[in-house]
């Protein structure tokens, strides 16, 4: 009597329910096996944040380096990686001092510099690094065909700028390999900071025979690069992983204590990075306003670090622009409260209120530049600001203020700042500000063509000398996008560029600092800092404003 009962609404539903359960189980099994099948197609699994026995540290990268050709690298991520896998003539040690790299010793004079290369400096293929590798690298970077964005950093070398502009052949570059181990550099002018340029990636060596065999793919993959730094890239899965291991050919390999630096995650999502940190998968995680509270609640020790960049409002000084009027700019300078901006609006630990275009970390003659030459003080003074504004209105012959176009980027912090300032200038000065929010490339395009009144901009140092900030508003500087022109400032820049005497130079920078403030050429908003959390067992990580962002070459795992 095992006959199935006849279909009725009730038992039809029960049967269907049972069938669905079977189907559900079947699909789970099917889904699982599909995953196993697909998993065999992919590769690479990361370990935990720190492995003391293997000497390995796992980290996350915010984005993938576009490529690792040192002659063309421009971004900080590439700089970060290149700084670990390559080495120039000189390098920074853990105390931020410039110490010998490939060069064993050197002499830098007013017109020429000589470098003696060490005997035991090798490429990762075992061949010796020669002076020719530097000559080739620098010529390549300056060749207009390479179109290197950072070629300008080589301009102190004799004929470099003319070569880069296509007026001279690359062979005319003032660099000679006297023999395999001696490099002679002739200089265009005396360069007080030449040693701090030599640590920059554009100055790293490139082996010609290797480079030419790559046929334009040099630096595109782990195997398309020859290394001479403390580490080599063992594996580079684009968009996913970049794993560096200790370089057995590196001359100073005994200094290196980590065996593996594994950038096992590449994502710009800071929440994801913090989640990886919480899960014990990475040893360091950067914080921003989105995930700061989360880290604070967990009572983690926050580490602060001065990134070395300066954020500022750049005015358009082209003729016909309202912002060409000094009194208008002074009015805005007096109405802007950078303390409130930094502590209440941006509200991220690590940032400092902007008081000068020369950040605090810059070195002066003996002490910090800003200790020797304090920035001119600005007190918020609305009465005075309104007075200046009335003057400006008269000078410009205006009945009513036209709205000022405020060009900005599209990031969250940028929006906060621009909206705050819009409201402040309206309330305190009655000025209308129209925010023009653009993506990065378009903001740059508009900055270059002068399609703005004010723009929220930033400047980061390329080398450890005040000149990296000091020459930005020189009339000939292509990055002076507000086209500010002042013969007096130009003159001080030339003095700072050509003198070797520290007092003269620092004095020139202090004059530039004063002019920028008096003329309100720009309005500094803040000096950028960053906050991050670190696994306390990871020690010896060096962060610096110039060069690579985080230096793990002296790091070690404790415990």
């Amino acid at each position: 009597m095992n006959q199935e009962p006849r279909a009725s609404q009730g038992n039809l539903r029960r049967t269907a329910g049972r069938q669905l359960i079977y189907l559900g189980l079947a699909s789970l099994v099917g889904f699982g096996s599909l995953m196993w099948a697909l998993a065999s197609l992919s590769e690479g699994v990361a370990g935990s944040a720190l492995d003391a026995i293997a000497g390995s540290v796992t980290l996350a990268l915010s984005e993938e380096p576009p490529q690792l050709d040192s002659s063309r690298a421009t971004d900080t991520v590439s700089g970060q990686i290149l700084g670990h896998v390559m080495e120039g003539l000189l390098r920074y040690d853990e105390f931020n001092r410039i110490v010998p790299g490939v060069a064993e010793r050197w002499e830098i004079g007013a017109t020429k510099a000589t470098f003696w290369l060490r005997d035991d400096a090798f490429w990762s293929d075992g061949s010796r690094i020669t002076a020719h590798d530097f000559v080739f690298a620098w010529q390549t970077a300056l060749d207009p065909q390479t179109a290197s964005e950072y070629a300008f950093i080589l301009y102190p070398i004799k004929n470099a700028e003319a070569i880069n502009n296509g007026q001279l052949d690359t062979a005319a570059l003032g660099v000679t390999a006297l023999n395999d181990k001696t490099l002679l550099v002739r200089l265009e002018r005396p360069v007080a900071y030449f040693n701090s340029l030599l640590v920059f990636p554009t100055y790293f060596p490139i082996k010609q025979s290797f480079y030419e065999k790559r046929q334009g793919r040099y630096g595109a993959d782990a195997s398309e690069l020859l290394y001479n730094g403390p580490f080599v890239i063992e594996k580079w899965v684009h968009g996913s992983q970049l794993r560096m291991v200790r370089n057995s050919h590196y001359w100073d390999r005994n200094r290196i204590r980590l065996n593996v630096i594994d950038y096992a995650y590449i994502t710009s999502d800071v929440n994801a990075t913090l989640n990886l940190f919480k899960d014990g998968k990475i040893a360091i995680a950067g914080l921003n306003s989105e995930n700061l509270d989360d880290a604070l609640q967990r009572r983690w020790k926050l580490e602060r670090f001065n990134e070395g960049c300066v954020g500022y409002i750049s005015f358009n000084h082209r003729s016909g622009r309202l912002t060409r009027n000094r009194h208008l700019r002074k009015a805005m300078q007096l109405a802007m409260d950078t303390n409130e901006l930094v502590y209440k609006v941006v509200a991220m630990p690590g940032n400092l209120p902007g008081v000068s275009f020369f950040p605090v970390w810059l070195q002066g003659v003996e002490r910090r530049f800003r200790q020797e030459f304090p920035a001119p003080e600005t007190q918020v003074d609305i009465t005075q600001a309104r007075f200046y504004l009335a003057q400006a209105k008269k000078e410009l012959g205006l009945d009513e203020w036209r709205p000022l176009t405020f060009l900005t980027g599209d990031r969250a912090t940028t929006n906060k700042i621009s909206e705050y300032l819009q409201q402040e200038f309206k309330e305190k000065l009655g000025l209308d500000i129209a925010i023009d929010r653009q993506i990065f490339k378009q903001r740059l395009a508009k900055m270059s063509s002068g399609d703005f009144d004010m723009v929220l901009a930033g400047w980061c140092p390329d080398y450890a000398d005040p000149l990296t900030f000091g020459d930005l508003f020189a009339s000939w500087n292509k990055n002076n996008r507000g086209e500010y022109k002042n013969p007096e400032l130009d003159q001080w820049v030339r003095i700072a560029q050509n003198s070797l005497e520290p007092h003269t130079r620092m004095n020139a920078f202090s004059k530039i600092q004063k002019i920028i403030h008096l003329e309100a050429v720009i309005l500094p908003t803040y000096e950028t800092g960053s906050v991050y959390v670190r696994d306390p067992r990871l020690k010896g990580v060096v962060k610096r404003a110039v060069g690579m962002d985080s230096d793990y070459s002296n790091a070690y795992i404790d415990g």
Partner: protein, 320 residues
């Protein structure tokens, strides 16, 4: 016999016509993208540091930007037909073909898993709600479905990741990785999250499709014939109700495979979706063109495949 041959003939003709239509669609996509891209503000050669006019000229020559727009278009089309999308502006020594070849498989794996998950879940839950209409399972599931449709995937992605962190912390062992790519365990959470929206949508579709055939003549006949309930459910209800779900699967596969940007970002997955979005932000012309045309062609192809399958599966589809 004659009839079947004409049918076969009609089918091939139909397939050829659909493929030609598809090719025209892709060409229109490529053309529209090309001209839109060149008219959208943003200069791919512009970067933080200003370069000399000489270098700029060299860069323009390298990427062919110094030629008239129509000539660029012609060169672009002829290269595209030969399957060469050029070199990326942002990653100066990687070709767009390399980028697609390396990153599309990752997106595809993620997409396939998500769609399988979405389809299975959608069919099962849809059927479950239909047979329990207006009872508790129906109400609960339909509430979740509305959530699944209306909550954007970046919220689910962040929530899913947070849940993993907390579960791992609570258990003291890492049962599933929080992010990354490579092993099976890396795939589970992202594919579930990516498939969630589609699953919700398919559940609703399946439910209404089940309810629609509830009053169908053939179902009433089957019940009154006294067929066993299992047979009625599997052969008559489920099988017929699935058809509309299959219809939308093709476009859904394409949508899921292309729409994984947020999930890829949150879970640090090296898929093509990230490059697609980044390229637009960086005005990386060649990558924008390459990925758009590739995805466009993929979507068109999936729609055609589903149409053709449908023609085979469902005799009611007329091929003219």
């Amino acid at each position: 016999m004659a009839n079947s041959r004409t049918n076969k003939h009609a089918y091939v003709r139909y397939a050829v016509i659909r493929l030609i239509q598809g090719a025209i669609t892709v060409w229109l996509i490529a053309t529209a993208t090309f001209f839109a891209m060149h008219n959208v503000p943003g200069d791919p050669l512009m970067d933080e540091k200003a370069v000399s006019p000489e270098i700029r000229k060299n860069l323009q020559a390298k990427y062919g930007l110094d030629r008239p727009l129509l000539e660029q278009y012609g060169i672009y089309l002829s290269n595209m037909i030969r399957g060469d999308f050029g070199i990326s502006y942002a990653q100066e020594n990687r070709s767009v073909n390399d980028i697609i070849r390396e990153h599309f498989p990752v997106s595809a794996i993620l997409g396939v898993l998500s769609i399988v998950f979405a389809a299975l879940g959608g069919i099962l839950f849809g059927a479950l709600t239909a047979i329990n209409r207006n009872r508790l399972p129906d109400i609960v599931i339909m509430f979740l479905v509305i959530m699944g449709i209306s909550v954007p995937s970046f919220v689910f992605a962040a929530l899913g990741q947070m849940t993993l962190v907390n579960v791992n912390a609570f258990l003291g062992v890492s049962i599933l990785p929080v992010a990354g790519w490579g092993s099976v365990s890396h795939m589970i959470m992202p594919s579930l999250i990516l498939g969630l929206g589609t699953m919700a949508f398919l559940t609703r579709l399946m439910r209404s499709s089940m309810l629609e055939i509830d009053n169908a003549d053939y179902l009433r006949t089957a019940i009154s014939k006294g067929l066993p309930p299992t047979r009625i459910f599997l052969r008559h209800q489920l099988r017929n109700a699935i058809l509309p779900v299959i219809t939308v699967l093709g476009p859904s596969i394409a949508a899921i495979t292309t729409g994984g940007f947020v999930v890829e970002l949150v879970f640090a997955i090296p898929g093509l979706g990230r490059y697609f979005v980044q390229a637009v932000q960086q005005s990386d012309y060649t990558v924008i063109m390459g990925t758009t045309v590739f995805y466009g062609a993929f979507l068109v192809f999936m729609v055609i495949v589903v149409d053709l399958l449908y023609g085979l599966v469902d005799p009611r589809v007329r091929l003219d």
